[in-house]
């Protein structure tokens, strides 16, 4: 499943616009600030390029929690900002006390377990708990996923994964283009040195990226 070309176009457009907007104060920024500014631009670009989905709304809402981001978002998105942050009908998040919710969940699950497995089948109970735990973890990962049920959560996760993958690909391509052109401008180096440095850098860079890609972190629940 691929992200569409129009998505990629919109993403790049918004990304570059975001870079331009946040680049005014680049000189005074530290590395961390620059990195977070870039990440913010990338996330906003991805969300706005995708359009109106539950996870995009959740993402933008999460990003606009900080005040200084809000003006940035407004600039980039324009009119879409208002539309996207308006809470949609299906995903009102009713404020609930966590303790009460946890207690009720415990009671409910105990009751369910007693009903469904009166003859003491442990494996199904175990399987169900595992699935539940993982569903919760996924809910935390996917933006705006807290208020979704099983099916729509999977749906949104699917969409989110596609967009994330496209985002990573595009950023990678952008990075390699920039690095290539930047290094080529080093007029001081002689030609073979430059070639060597190119290959070396590109190789290292690519290697790092593939390592990252193959990294399989332990699941933290």
């Amino acid at each position: 499943m691929q992200a569409t070309k129009s998505f990629e176009r919109a993403f790049l457009k918004h990304l570059l616009r975001g870079f331009r907007l946040s680049a005014v104060s680049y000189k005074s920024m530290s590395l961390q600030e620059r990195k977070s500014a870039i990440k913010l631009s990338a996330d906003v670009a991805m969300a706005s390029a995708r359009g109106s989905r539950k996870w995009t709304r959740g993402l933008i809402t999460k990003l606009s929690k900080e005040d200084d981001h809000r003006s940035f978002l407004r600039l980039i998105l324009g009119t879409e900002y208002e539309r996207l942050t308006k809470p949609c009908h299906g995903s009102w998040k009713i404020p609930r006390s966590k303790k009460i919710v946890r207690r009720s969940l415990r009671v409910c699950s105990r009751r369910k377990n007693n009903l469904r497995a009166p003859h003491g089948v442990k494996s199904s109970v175990l399987a169900r708990t595992l699935v539940e735990k993982r569903t919760h973890a996924l809910k935390r990962l996917v933006p705006g996923g807290e208020s979704l049920d099983g099916y729509s959560l999977l749906d949104e996760a699917l969409d989110y994964v596609i967009s994330l993958r496209a985002q990573v690909d595009l950023m990678q391509k952008l990075l390699t283009t920039f690095e290539a052109s930047k290094l080529s401008a080093l007029s001081k180096c002689t030609l073979p040195e430059r070639k060597a440095s190119f290959v070396g850098e590109a190789g290292i860079h690519q290697q790092k990226l593939t390592e990252k890609a193959q990294l399989r972190p332990k699941l933290t629940l």
Binding site: M1, E8, F19, K39, L154, L170, P217
Partner: protein, 403 residues
């Protein structure tokens, strides 16, 4: 299969299932000779399917799909008939087995549909008079594939209790069929539908997440999905860090100059503009190693060679990009270049322009006006920044030569 009418256009699932049926029947005919076990059933099925009226033919349901799925799995063309337990008696019944419900009308479940999603297959039901036939709810949101999550063994052979029901009313309800050996109350039916939808989504995700073809359990799949999402998010962070380190400090003058330039053009044809930058990037990686044209200018040569070396290892699997769009993409490349220059400095612009111009030579350039425009802009730009004056003048000259 003269009896089956052509399926309506929007029912792609039906088409597929019809093809399945056709295949199945043909296979059955071929294999009936040497499949003694299945032969009796074969003949039954054949007669039944030929007798199948056009109406019921439209009523494809999961059962056919399931059986076909089973046929796909096994090399033998008619393997699972025994499992399916189609009844031996009458053609009508054999057809009914695949169509009618397990039990009587009471098990019919009609959910009020939220949207007019359920296809109007009820029209087909009239032919044989079994209106009580249910249809499995079809996913339109997900891509309209019928659920094949259930194992084939459980697939319905109602058989004995087949009843002829009257025509189903043409409503917008979702009709769900209960299978043999399963509970038929509304709760379990709803839950089964929900489970099937979830399993379909899991299948999509399985295709998406690399390396998940062997994992079958829900928990394991969720685990993989979570890992994948986490790794993708980490990659984004890492890449943004790399981008932050790769960008030199930019010049505010540049920003002001290009800001004016880019903003008005943002509205006009923005899609075409920065638009095909993704294609641009693709093309750049595609074309880089096919670039053969030797360039007169030495500076450009070095750039080409070095970028050649850099980008060849990074060539992605080729994207099918039509050559015709190549010319227009240069406009885009140019603008992208300029906007990139805002962030990443003048050197980038220069290098990219060089690359563009050299590659442009190999292509019939549709119009040179944008090139002139670009040169003018670059002249302005280079004039504005002091340190690039020397190198800046070199570049446009080269470009002019190529024109």
């Amino acid at each position: 299969m003269q009896g089956l009418r052509a399926p309506p256009d929007d029912l792609s699932v039906l088409e597929r299932q019809e093809a399945c049926l056709l295949n199945w029947q043909q296979q059955g005919q071929e294999q009936s000779n040497y499949n003694p076990r299945g032969s009796g059933y074969c003949r039954q099925m054949q007669t039944s399917f030929q007798a199948l009226p056009s109406g019921c033919g439209g009523e494809k349901n999961v059962n056919h799909g399931d059986v076909h799925g089973s046929i796909d799995c096994f090399s033998d063309g008619w393997p699972d008939l025994a499992n399916i337990r189609y009844p031996v008696h009458g053609a009508a019944n054999v057809e009914e087995t695949s169509i009618t419900n397990v039990s009587s009308n009471s098990s019919r479940k009609r959910k009020a549909d939220k949207s007019p999603r359920s296809k109007q297959k009820e029209n087909g039901g009239g032919g044989k008079g079994d209106s009580g036939c249910k249809r499995i709810k079809e996913e339109t949101g997900g891509g309209a594939t019928s659920e094949t999550g259930q194992p084939n063994k459980k697939e319905a052979a109602s058989g004995d209790a087949s009843k002829k029901n009257d025509k189903p009313p043409k409503t917008d309800c979702i009709h769900v069929r209960a299978r043999r050996g399963q509970a038929t109350d509304s709760h379990s039916l709803a839950e089964r539908v929900r489970r099937e939808r979830i399993s379909q989504r899991m299948k999509y995700l399985q295709d998406l997440v690399p390396g998940c073809s062997k994992i079958t359990g829900k928990a394991g799949m969720l685990d993989e999905i979570i890992n994948y999402v986490q790794s993708l998010q980490r990659q984004v962070e890492f890449l943004s860090m790399k981008l932050a380190t790769a960008s030199p400090l930019m010049d505010i003058n540049i920003d002001s100059i290009f800001g004016r330039e880019i903003n008005p053009s943002c509205k006009s044809g923005s899609t075409a503009m920065i638009g095909m930058s993704s294609e641009l990037l693709d093309q750049s990686y595609l074309r880089f190693d096919t670039l053969q044209h030797p360039h007169p200018c030495s500076g450009l040569d070095t750039f080409m060679d070095s970028s050649d070396l850099v980008l060849r290892p990074n060539v992605n699997p080729p994207v099918a990009v039509p050559d015709a769009s190549f010319g227009s993409s240069f406009d885009v490349i140019l603008r992208l270049n300029m906007s990139m220059g805002v962030l990443f400095g003048v050197q980038t612009c220069k290098a990219c322009m060089a690359w563009i111009s050299s590659k442009e030579e190999g292509q019939p350039s549709p119009s040179n006006h944008w090139k002139v425009k670009a040169l003018i802009l670059y002249q302005e730009h280079y004039d504005a920044s002091d340190d690039n004056k020397r190198s800046g003048s070199v570049l446009p000259n080269n470009l002019k030569m190529e024109m």
